[in-house]
Symmetry: C2
Subunit: 475 residues, 2 copies
């Protein structure tokens, strides 16, 4: 699983970026002229779009051919602008948009070919589970799905399923955004009473980042502690590091090889944008993220069965892996995994990018003190308010682009309170400082209690969660 | 490890081949005109050469542009001819030449950048080991090496090494050619008193062939019995199936991932000729054949050491894997493996191709009865003799292209007897029938006693050899 915003832009000067963009534009034109393979053109265009977004971020200007950054002081307007050709950039390594409201998720559903989680599906989940829908469902944070109705059809006929989610352990530091899939997965586990496998892709982080194997593995174990602190049931949850489990389960490796036989380089090039100069580890990796979608990768849990349906709650940027998996599944005799997709958790600076652990000022970490939380929200959280109190009182704020309000939609459980805050902020009754205060008061106790639960997670507990073993579950 | 001659040519008509060749010629020209990447051009040329050899095999004619096979009854001469541009085809999946004497191994040494095993090295091996050199060394069957002097330098300073060889288990049936690396490896093990790991690449066979995982794994275990029957020391030998060992050793997987991080698609494209439509499993596989070259892939044997030098005896067609491995090794902090390369074991029909288990008539199997051996040699072994007894007596035979004589160089231990046979055959004193009789009398008891030893290999013994465990060896 990947969760980091591309790092390349970080160290580049506006001129570096300008030159890279110009050369990438040439590449795209050449490919189109030469009628190159669609996948090649798509990959080049994706990179071009990403560079344009980076350029805009770094310079505050739109890129213009023939107009280097120092010479052109055009439109310093930092407001929302359409992305290069109106498409947001969403893949496992990059999430960005030029729209301050964030990615256009309805468009993404059309582009990815998934289905919207509509009110009917939310109602049905409540009916089948006998539980009130989680706030992430009520508020469209989990907004898209594949085959969820099929999962519920089967569940109604007493055919159970299992959950699979994961994380790419690229550092010790988790931020609040990382909790989203885990908070929701815990709710699904409790609600449907089903087993859960959590993959920590330490091998992937080694392949993608400038990190040692040892560090990636250590991050996996440290991250597992934060995951465990979310409250998963030890009797129904198996957490594994790829580096460990690949070397502990011939059945897992067999499924990896099966997937690897049925996916070509052309396919991963088209899906993930890999190129000829990528290492062969990256090229083969998608099979490793695919394999836990098949229950016989875990014979200790599923006792040789290969027909237990898998449901994957994850952020929408991970969907490319599972589109590939769903394509391969029937060809190797397995059921396709179903999916529930979440939106991204916005960076403090605004919903144009997701929160990223590698940019400290964009993130509220699970290790932050109450004071740090207060300072970061007050200092960095992008505000939808007006420039002066007078204007704000008169015209009201814009909750749709206000990061503090967005965070409250993630973490404030009470629907009525949230709606009141929205109305008061929009009317101008609630000032930005007051809104931030509400967020700070919501985050501080949440993170403090997470820290307390994490402290109670012993090495012994981690070891138990991470040991391949039968789970307390019978199909 | 791969050992099969390309299967594609088998079912093609001369016209099919002609058309494929013509189209491939166009491809090469187009690539050259467009100044495509060198690796792409090389791969296309390699395929072109292979098709030309297939065409010659199927039609008995050289391919000529614009001249389809039915219309051109030119040169039906089956004698030795230079390959398309004088280069033999040698890679892990194809070995062929148009020269009846076989591949030009001196040229191969230059092409691959390895070193010739000269008399000086043979003498030194005798001196250092205190043993007479194996007949494969005395007769140039192991003819090329990398870093063997370095291995001996270290050995003289009491720094030991370990052996690594392997096999791709594509069927239950091994032929006598498959024994060559194992016979020699056993000699090395006995002579230098060192541990040995034998990799059975059942994952590779699954990726390359139309076989199930289960069949590939079963072939691995069956092949292990034949390997064990070669007489390896159970206290110094670990045999493993990739499908099993990958799922049993986190350290092995860690080395696989390390190699995968340091090799790009461009590199494997150049080395192995992989293309965009190849599956990602094939593309990543070379790392799996590389990993056993590093001793810490076997912590149960080498107790956490990562500096024990590896020596790989193998057929020269496997060298591409280890050129890649040697390129990666220093970049991940490991010593480069040393190599000893053997020539190919010729097919019964002649040294233009190597013996292939998938072509029953080209092979003498380890399961053949004495009668089958006799019939196959008499019927199929390509003869260097003259057409009539009278001519043969007058002009003599040609041992250099005679397959029966070649086989005797592999299996007849006595140097003087072998030289006498060569002289008598060349002079015409020995007739082809008599030469074949000598070969039959050499092969029959050798294979019968192999069969007897194999019968004594119990499931329990195989399990022991294939269990990861410490070996009886201390560095």
């Amino acid at each position: 699983m990947t969760d980091c915003l591309g790092d390349e832009a970080g160290d580049m000067t506006p001129m570096d970026l300008y030159e890279k963009l110009t050369s990438q534009g040439d590449t795209v034109r050449t490919l189109k002229t030469e009628k190159a393979a669609k996948a090649d053109i798509d990959a080049a265009v994706q990179l071009l779009l990403k560079l344009k977004v980076d350029y805009k971020q770094v310079t505050g200007q739109d890129y213009k051919t023939g107009c280097p950054p120092s010479e052109c002081a055009v439109s310093q307007d930092n407001g929302p602008a359409a992305a290069a050709d109106g498409e947001d950039m969403v893949d496992p390594w990059n999430v960005s948009t030029t729209n301050a409201k964030g990615v256009d998720y309805d468009k993404l559903i059309v582009r990815f070919g998934s289905s919207k989680i509509d009110q009917e599906l939310v109602d049905r989940i409540e009916r089948v589970s006998g539980q009130k829908a989680h706030r992430f469902l009520r508020r469209g944070i989990f907004f898209s799905h594949r085959d969820m109705h099929q999962v519920l059809d089967a569940y109604e006929k007493n055919k159970s399923f299992y959950l699979y989610t994961g994380r790419g352990p690229s550092s010790e530091a988790l931020h609040v955004g990382h909790l989203i899939p885990f908070i929701f997965t815990k709710w699904l586990q409790d609600t449907f009473d089903i087993p859960l496998v959590i993959q920590l892709t330490d091998d992937e982080k080694y392949l993608w980042k400038d990190l040692s194997l040892e560090d990636c593995h250590r991050y996996a174990v440290e991250n597992a502690k934060d995951i465990i602190a979310c409250g998963f049931d030890i009797n129904k949850t198996f957490i594994f590091s790829d580096l460990d489990y690949m070397g502990a389960s011939p059945d897992f490796y067999r499924n990896v090889v099966k997937v690897q036989k049925h996916v070509t380089f052309n396919q991963v090039k088209g899906i993930f944008g890999f190129g000829d100069s990528d290492c062969i580890g990256k090229i083969a990796f998608p099979a490793i993220q695919a394999a836990p979608s098949f229950c016989n990768s875990f014979p200790q849990i599923f006792k040789g069965r290969k027909d237990v349906q898998c449901l994957i709650p994850c952020a929408i940027d991970q969907d490319p892996y599972f589109r590939m998996t769903r394509d391969v599944a029937p060809r190797i005799g397995y059921p396709k995994p179903a999916l529930l997709h979440s939106t991204f958790f916005p960076a403090l600076q605004g919903a144009q990018t997701k929160m990223s652990a590698s940019e400290a000022n964009s993130s509220i970490f699970l290790t932050d003190t109450p004071k740090q939380i207060k300072n970061k929200v007050n200092k960095h959280a992008f505000s939808g308010g007006k420039d002066t109190v007078e204007e704000h009182r008169k015209y009201g704020g814009n909750p749709d682009v206000d990061v503090s309000f967005m965070y409250l939609t993630f973490f404030l459980e009470d629907d009525e309170q949230l709606e009141k805050i929205r109305q008061d902020y929009a009317s101008g009754a609630l000032l930005t400082g007051e809104l931030k205060k509400r967020l700070i008061e919501t985050l501080q106790p949440m993170i403090t209690s997470h820290q307390e639960r994490r402290k109670q997670v012993t090495e012994e507990t981690v070891k138990q969660f991470m040991t391949p073993r039968p789970l307390n579950f019978h199909f």
